[in-house]
Point group: C2
Chain length 203, copies 2
């Protein structure tokens, strides 16, 4: 197997952390998004949607979409479990992973795209819209702080894919979307410190 | 079990079609989003994220997020299979379901929210941004037409959750986001006619 990756992009990082938590070693190949290497005919033959990451399987099939890649690897390597041990736990973890993805990760991405000069000329930017997305990220992190309370992890009594998505979203928001983690948010702060100290966070 | 539902909203429709395909009967209760009934303290105790649908389990647990609800029901009632029979097929179906959700369904929602007067005063609207989302929907349907070719369904040789998401997205785009299906797109047109003629499409 081989993972088409771009170190600076958040979706590939989700997959890299997942792979590290599983204790797997998978070769990677960098595809530079900033140089539009993911829009070449060669890459589009692998993923016609043009996104990263993409996992090339041993028979040459190309599997795209971060969470789909994680689900495939979870099936091949069930331990440690990161996506749920039975139908109900799988559903609860998916609920939380979707909340972190759709309500936190995605608006952080839109805030970045509409306010950062890297996207000047790539998309039609609406900086005022980007500012509303930044505000959404801020509110969602506050919401997460209230939901977390004293719980050690987001979706279960152990680390799961929902923690990966939230970690990557929050780090991305701080690094690229102009939303630093507010130190007054004690629960998210404690959780963030815990998950950031796992070796996988450096993947 | 009971499904908190709102007939006019697209995410609940995804779940209703899934339930119909499974041949299940689940009681529903309407929660009127237009009257902000999903923002009452009573409803937020069920789903603190405030969205629909929500599935109330027999022990009182509330499961939110359309795809998480589908995954739970798939586990309880594996036949007919709608989300994949093994790890690899599950991953491929999830890849396609995510493409339909993130690249088609979500921009249709943003086009609606930023251009429809129903959202005037509910969110800060950016109509010009909404127009770009409409254009994204148009392009994604063209992309889907090219990807489909002669294939009968989107993610497998049978109807799956990816077809449900795409059907709901395309119908929503036509009905609420100002993007009618272009009759020149023969592959999507044929597929749309096939999936729309299934009894579940009326759910």
């Amino acid at each position: 197997m081989k993972l088409y990756d771009f170190t600076l992009a958040p979706n590939p990082r989700r997959t890299r952390i997942f792979i590290a938590e599983k204790g797997l070693k998978i070769d990677t190949e960098q595809v530079n998004i900033f140089e539009a290497k993911n829009r070449t005919p060669e890459f589009l033959a692998k993923n016609p949607a043009g996104g990263l990451p993409v996992l090339q399987l041993d028979d040459g099939f190309h599997l795209a979409e971060s969470v789909a890649i994680c689900r495939y690897l979870e099936g091949l390597h069930p331990q440690p479990n990161l996506m749920g041990k039975d139908s109900r736990e799988q559903a609860v973890i998916e609920m939380w992973n979707r909340r972190m993805e759709l309500n936190l990760f995605a608006p952080a991405g839109r805030a970045f795209q509409h306010t950062n000069e890297l996207f000047n000329g790539r998309i039609k930017q609406f900086p005022d819209y980007g500012a509303t997305q930044r505000e959404t990220v801020t509110q969602q992190i506050q919401w997460l702080d209230a939901q977390l309370g004293n719980r050690p992890f987001i979706a279960a009594d152990r680390f799961t894919i929902a923690d990966i998505t939230a970690l990557v979203a929050i780090d991305f928001a701080a690094g690229f979307a102009g939303v630093k983690l507010d130190p007054a948010l004690k629960n998210v702060g404690r959780w963030h410190q815990t998950v950031s100290s796992r070796p996988s966070a450096k993947a």
